[in-house]
Symmetry: C4
């Protein structure tokens, strides 16, 4: 329960920052959101592992550092928190969002999300679950700014979300079409699983 | 006395950076102010705890890591430092500030400050007072950049202050109306107290 | 093989971020690319050393911390990954790039790359291979943000690449002329070798 | 000699980044320069202490952590490196700089530099010379980003240099009038000395 509350808080503020920054159209959105991701990992990592992202939860499970019984409750909590964040942003705080139009660029969008999520999960597993980097003080910085860098790169392609819960939160807030969510989720899950298997090939089970 | 001097210095430079950046209308204000907050925590944390924010002092007290006798003097010092910083910015250095007009958006502003302060205090308590994260080298980075991320998110709603002393400093510098300070302070105190209780529920007294 | 896979992944995402950001013409390109460089070093450093840059591989070899048998395979892998990244950016994802016109500014461009690479390699060797800084948690941050700072400085001169593989990736993506690559590579190799010898003079072999 | 070479390299790249960024008029100058300052401290701190700034050298001497015999050679080296950097920027690489016009704002400029240098030196002494913070991995980050934050704040007042060598380098590069250097140096030395005495009052000799 304490783990789920922590996942709720982290995911909520991550998606709240994302949706509010996108609504204000600030050029610094990737930096702001990556910073919130970073600080929530530093704050909540010691409690819940600091996933805040269903793709990360799946990858950490594949890597063997998240028990199978935690997976559904983590993912449900992350989607719930993201939905609430999208709702708070749109109905209460600002209520202005222009959805990204993907149109005929479905393959580009899916591959962009796949690549960005691969990078993110590769970094997560190496800085937060590898034996060689244990005890470091940079795990949150590395993960948060990987999101930032990837999101700057994929910004004009897919928006750069790398997180199924963020895709839901954005849709609730009117920043993505609900009908496009599958593009994000499929790309992200493939990217996350691929990164987990690459990590296991390189680092071994332990 | 040495603690109070440290709180004065940290809060003074925090609010000075805030008011001067707002006066120059740089788009990087949240980054600059969060950076100053971060470095003052790294510099002064080992002396006074590095609060620089009445909402943080109240939350650290509720969490049981600030003696009741320190609370009034810390808060008074923080408000004094913020007032002096606002005065130095406006009367001596630049003297140009346009106040944020909140108008009918009082609930949005209050909830925005509540949420941002909740995130900030949740991060402060977890990275600087929790047993599991003791001895880390990231506490200042996490706290400073939580302010940055939250301030980018709430920028177009309330300005994103998350600090009663900053609300006072801004008012002195003509960047907020004095008549709006209560909106900030109420939202911030509620957010800080809520975060302290959530922290205690999750982590326990120790 | 695991080292080379790690070098491939890191270099691929580094050059992918570079080329995509340049194509989108974001003013934050140096920050985004430096951030990706940083996080890939934090993620892959414990496996391959986290070079992702032929100039770094040569310098680490000169400093005596990379076996001679690793040098050709590392460099080949880095160029391959950069070429693939340039191809993915240009043919699949965006396909819009305006090449930098160096024209008569060949000496400026070469010296700019020489200086930026000197700074980068000086930082790499000191934070990642020196005895006095062993066990630190900042090596990735220092190296990534050295790239960022140098690239902001040299942006209007050479684009600020400091990495022969990035020069190749940019050329594949249509962001540099193939006929200009030699200017980059010569400047970068001289800068890297000079930094390695200065490091050895200052720090000694160990 | 090895210390002086390190001070030369660090100061050279610090001032080169400053002058080139100012010439390109990028809005991110304070971030780029603070980043270069940070990484040179992480790289050179273990050799020379990583001052790269005469005001810092004076303050570290006053605090008792720099031998009197090092002071003149350090300061001379820093000014020399800054002059060379200004020359390289202006005559070789770009040759375009518009000097800041201080006009009648001499007191504002001097106080702005005094305050910014006070903050910088207060941070330097606390994160790099205090017993309580020994062994941390954030000293370079704290010092570099203190410069960044202060420079964003003082940007429209004095340019935000907080470093006598930078004032010289800027003047050589045509970004400050030589006749204004005294304003910078006086403000900076007073700020540095004041911060050293405040540090000694708060922390004691050790």
């Amino acid at each position: 329960m304490k783990k789920l509350l922590t996942e709720f808080i982290g995911t909520f503020f991550l998606v709240l920052t994302l949706t509010l920054c996108l609504m204000s159209k600030t050029a610094m959105t990737p930096l702001a959101v990556g910073a919130m991701y970073m600080v929530m990992i530093f704050a909540g990592g010691h409690i819940s592992g600091g996933h805040f992202n269903p793709a990360v939860t799946i990858a950490v499970f594949l890597r063997g550092k998240c028990s199978v019984s935690d997976v559904p409750s983590y993912i449900l909590t992350q989607f719930l928190a993201a939905g609430v964040a999208g709702l708070v942003s749109s109905t209460f705080l600002m209520n202005v969002g222009t959805p990204i139009e993907i149109g005929s660029k479905v393959p580009q969008c899916m591959v962009g999300e796949l690549l960005g999520t691969f990078a993110l999960v590769f970094v997560v597993l190496n800085v937060a679950t590898a034996k060689d980097t244990m005890g470091n003080s940079f795990y949150g910085l590395a993960i948060g700014l990987c999101w930032t860098a990837g999101s700057f790169a994929m910004n004009s392609i897919s928006g750069g979300l790398f997180n199924p819960a963020a895709a839901l939160g954005n849709s609730v807030a009117g920043l993505n079409h609900f009908s496009d969510i599958w593009i994000y989720i499929i790309g992200q899950i493939i990217g996350a699983a691929a990164a987990a298997y690459v990590f296991l090939y390189i680092n071994g089970k332990d």
